[in-house]
């Protein structure tokens, strides 16, 4: 598949999945709010979880509705948004490097890599995958610096990169530190940090909405810029 077509497919699938993740968040929010409203109307309700033996009454469900919405649901949705963002950027880099492998430049390859590869195509794939994997451990600013070193896109803006870095730092705190900010968060979030080390972080609905809009905008703009550069000039 020509690179431009491949990038269109990547862009469209990531944007569709971002929309699906947003729908999931809204639909789940609505489901929990219906449950809460029903309890507040004094609708009788009780159920038991046979696996744990936990019994939840209407009042209990009402408490959980609030706790789940502002806690686990928000954290899981943010993780989905960030996973899609990472898939997009690293997927774009991988596709670009596969199309233009010479842009990797000088790269040491072990003898084992060479001798174990059944052909040159496999070796090329292995080198590109290694390059993208290494980049995945770096920070967001490095990702876009590398991308712009391969092809001058002019997007995203420095401010968008800083916002994305704060988002990713927030996601890391929920994945690795149970939602409590630490020095690593402060360093990665820089001037946009929302919490100091030791503080429990929250994920308000407006923060999630802004995050989704930012990621969607950056995916669309970066993809469109890359697609325009990937289309060969008409002969």
């Amino acid at each position: 598949m020509p690179l431009a077509d491949d990038l269109v497919a990547l862009r469209d699938s990531i944007l569709a999945d971002l929309d699906a993740a947003h729908d999931y968040h809204t639909d789940t929010l609505v489901a929990w709010q219906f449950a809460r409203a029903a309890v507040e109307r004094s609708e009788p309700l009780a159920y038991r979880n046979p696996a744990t033996g936990s019994v939840t009454t209407g009042q209990g469900l009402r408490d959980k509705a609030e706790r789940y919405l502002i806690g686990p649901l928000a954290a899981s949705v943010l993780q989905q948004y960030l996973s899609l963002f990472e898939d997009f950027v690293l997927g774009l880099l991988r596709r670009w490097l596969l199309a233009y492998p010479m842009s990797i430049g000088r790269k040491a390859v072990t003898a084992a890599d060479v001798f174990e590869a059944p052909d040159l195509e496999h070796l090329r794939l292995a080198i590109v995958d290694h390059e993208v994997r290494e980049l995945g451990f770096k920070n967001v600013a490095d990702w876009f610096a590398r991308l712009n070193s391969l092809v001058k896109l002019g997007v995203p803006t420095d401010e968008q990169v800083r916002q994305l870095a704060e988002l990713k730092a927030t996601r890391d705190i929920f994945v690795h530190n149970r939602g409590v900010a630490n020095a690593v968060y402060e360093e990665k979030a820089g001037g946009l940090k929302r919490f100091a080390g030791g503080e429990r972080m929250d994920l308000p609905g407006d923060y999630l909405q802004t995050s989704w809009q930012l990621i969607r905008q950056v995916v669309a703009e970066v993809a469109d810029a890359a697609i325009s550069k990937a289309i060969p000039p008409a002969s």
Partner: protein, 77 residues
């Protein structure tokens, strides 16, 4: 407006960190919270159950004092 058990009441969660309210009252609630610098976010949807008026939800920032916020909103006419 249909007569319901809810009426036009604001109903706080037990933790006090959120409140459900008739959608028709959202503007006055927002005005009061904004005037006092309370951090909050509003559910993006309003829902309807039975013949009740549309209900929406306001969630307060975790640094807010639930008792103080409740006092603010309880004093609404």
């Amino acid at each position: 407006m249909a007569e319901t058990a809810r009426g036009d009441r604001l109903i706080f969660s037990p933790s006090g960190m959120s409140v459900s309210l008739p959608y028709a009252r959202l503007a006055e609630v927002r005005d009061r919270l904004d005037a006092h610098g309370v951090r909050y976010w509003v559910s993006p949807v309003a829902i309807t159950l039975g013949n009740d008026p549309e209900v929406t939800f306001v969630y307060f920032g975790q640094k807010e004092d639930p008792a103080a916020v409740r006092q603010l909103l309880d004093s609404l006419p």
